[in-house]
Amino acid sequence: MTETTTPAAGEELTRLTAAAMADRLTAGELTSEQLVHAHLDRIERLNPVLNAYLRVDAEGALATAREVDAARAGGEQLPRLAGVPVAVKDIACTEGLVTTAGSRMLAAWVPPYDATVVRRLREARMPILGKTNMDEFAMGSSTEHSAFGPTRNPWDLDRIPGGSGGGSSAAVAAYLAPLAIGSDTGGSIRQPAAVTGTVGAKPTYGGVSRYGVIALASSLDQIGPCARTVTDAALLHEVIGGHDPMDSTSIDAPVPPVLEAAGTRDLTGLRVGIVSELTGEGYQPDVQARFDEAVAQLREAGAEVVEVSCPHFRYALPAYYLILPSEASSNLARYDAMRYGLRVHPEGVDRPSAEQVMAASRDAGFGDEVKRRIILGTYALSAGYYEAYYGQAQKVRTLIARDFEAAFEQVDVLISPTAPTTAFRIGDKAEDPMAMYRNDIATIPANLAGVPGLSVPAGIAGDGLPVGVQLLAPATSDERMYAVGAALEARLAAQWGGSGSVLDRAPDVSALVDAFATTASSADREVTA
């Protein structure tokens, strides 16, 4: 099918939810090729400023789209999301398509294989639009630590889109993709979702295969969906979830019924616990206000809300910043310029040894945040320090898991703000890594305990930026957070009116981008003049 779409009609198409796209494709009202073109057009216009995508695979996406359209025309039964485009964080290997993990080290690396999650997208016949920007090796909460420049928040181009998966969330928020894949080690799906007004889910550890997803911290990493609605997130979750024999830590059980749960509206009889350690002090007042309103909505939906205490959560941040660097220091050891990736010959050395090439390449290939964490982790694992650091951190981890167990004996789901603040300005925390680390204070406990978490939009703060709330469920009960998230989303939508999306109230990103480009080019002229 080659019918053209007007630019305005294309814009309209990108605003659809993934579920609506799937329905229209099934009904024959729309082709996948039209959808992909509409997104590619928008990417072409906005991405030069947003920098949400590091690489766009127009050819690959269109090829998949045309195959799907032909198959549908031929009456073939197709998976529900067949033909719905998707973006993939540049941390998941895509065969034949450069995968960088946001690092100079892998700037030109072409994987010879697909990550399991990518294979599942292909099996679901979803066109892959491209690879999204991220903090280098997923180390960061702002996407400022990408070797390829920061991603800008579509709500305010001077602000960060969260991280490490800022590219995926910004792409979804700016309608450059209806769905995206993210990875969450300490909040890298949920915090970007919160600060971009989108939905992001970190499934139970082991719920989605990690095979082929470049490892940051193996015991914390989890792959999950980024979307604009809870239902869309659930649709993508069901595509990518489920057992994978290539990942030993993958759970050998069916995907929890998250899509069904996303239809929940009535929460009668459900017990929701506010984590007292994750509210109040340290939380931006209007973030706290939106959170309190969300809690009130849950009460109105029939939920019984109580406060619960998780006393060991206060040790989560230090424990996390020992476990993560320790595992990362080992996971990143393989980038040594011997087999793939950047290779730098040390300056002034005639016949460098393998060790000298390794050192020079790692020095040139890794950014400061990566080096900082490799050094931290190497130290924490060293003989004589292991027990004091890594060993202690693992004990804290056990205590946090027990806090969750105790809490889930009293309630079905826990709730907190996703991030303590709205999006901060690009460069604001560059000199203070600890301040950036603290942005993940509410999301980290779930990774340490392996429990699932979901961030859904809760409204807009006084600074005009979106706020998210986080729902946490017991391991392998991901459907519970989807149920509560869906009920909350529906009530807020009714209150907000319009399409019900908080994104309706975002400034027009096209106008922001045009204004930005004008300012930038006039600034350029000033510089050249």
Partner: protein
Amino acid sequence: MTTTSTGTPARVVDFDDAVARFDPVMGLEVHVELSTATKMFCGCATTFGADPNTQVCPVCLGLPGALPVVNEGAVESAVRIGLALNCRIADWCRFARKNYFYPDMPKNFQTSQYDEPIAFDGYLDVEIPGAGDSGEPPEVFRVEIERAHMEEDTGKSTHVGTSGRIHGADYSLVDYNRAGIPLIEIVTKPITGAGERAPEVARAYVGALRDLLRALGVSDVRMEQGSLRCDANLSLRPRDDAAQQSVPFGTRTETKNVNSLRSVERAVRYEICRHAAVLDAGQAVVQETRHWHEDTGITTAGRPKSDADDYRYFPEPDLVPVSPSAEWVEGLRATLPEPPAQRRRRLQQDWGYSDLEMRDVVNAGAVEVIEDTVAAGATPAGARKWWTGELARRANAEGREVTDFGVTPAHVAELDGMVGEGRLNDSMARQVLEGVLAGEGTPTEVADARGLRMVRDDSALEEAVDAAIAASPDVADKVRGGKVQAAGALIGQVMKQMKGQADAARARELILERLSPPE
């Protein structure tokens, strides 16, 4: 780092002198490559000798994003090895990452086991030949096993350049086919109390382990191909017969990759002599790895090693713990072969060998091959004769194994059969064996090609006998007169005339028949 150049011998003390004054303490670490069809953590093939980097995948190349999955067959082999070594089997254990940078290690960490080995606290009883040369029964020496753990092999580096080492190489090539092959590392507790027999105990231990692993069917155990590799730790402490066990251990050295049984014995012996010389000179033994030089029979300094080498071990987060169930372990116990020492006693009885004969067989490392040869139809006496004769001499002289020369149990059985049938005599059979060794084919092919066959047609022999009698009438008379021993000279002439292709016994019969005194 200072290194002694290859071939420059250190000062050494005479062995007898060294062990008279010092007590050797050994620790043996043996790495065994399992013969599983696939690698430890991926589905790649493990065939030896494939073209470089053809048996690799994202997992064993350590590509970004790749994850390991444990090979269940390797765990099964590990448990069986542990059981055969009388070890306790962990009901729960984990893999750990051993972190260090080296180009042949794709991930720059080796997935191994650290403080939670799958098998631990075992022992292996090994036999060393009885003292003296008069066939005293073998002595049994118990070697305590500290642990047996699972890990993956590294790739194989080839350093191209004059030095053959990474330092000074023009460039290096790495073959990752070996990366990820399952290894079991078997570590002994400190072996004390062997005294002057320490080198023999080391050899006997590695030999017994090799026999055991072969009987288990878990490895090719080809030392020359590196599927069984031994690192020998050695230290000396002053001899104190009154309270030896309370004397603290000395500083140890670790001699790496000693790749034949004979080398194990020689390397330990050399290090005893070298350590003694260092200690005699009032110097301290340097804790380091040593390289063994097969050609010169010495070791040279490698890299300094300290107990503080920091590999930053931590539990491998990409793998779940291994927890073999008690039922499964007991099921595997039932599959264990007969212990080699017990088996040797049974075979000695079956084969009717004397203790001395059995000792030679064991020393030649020929128990298995004789068993196979007998199974192929040879007589036990014939099998022993060939394997402990020429082949053992060659193996000993060249530091190789009796099975390394292209002669198979089937060949020896065939040869033994040809002798038994009277087709070949002893000297012909030796010539046939030479032909087989030279790669000329099977014994039958060699005998045919070389025209070796005992003459069975008595007419030629009778002619030769008559000619010999006619040529030496004096000798013939002596025999006629009852001096039967004198027939030997006639037999010699007959054999000469027949160019050795005659049955000497038959010639003797014919001569005595003709020269028997008239009735």
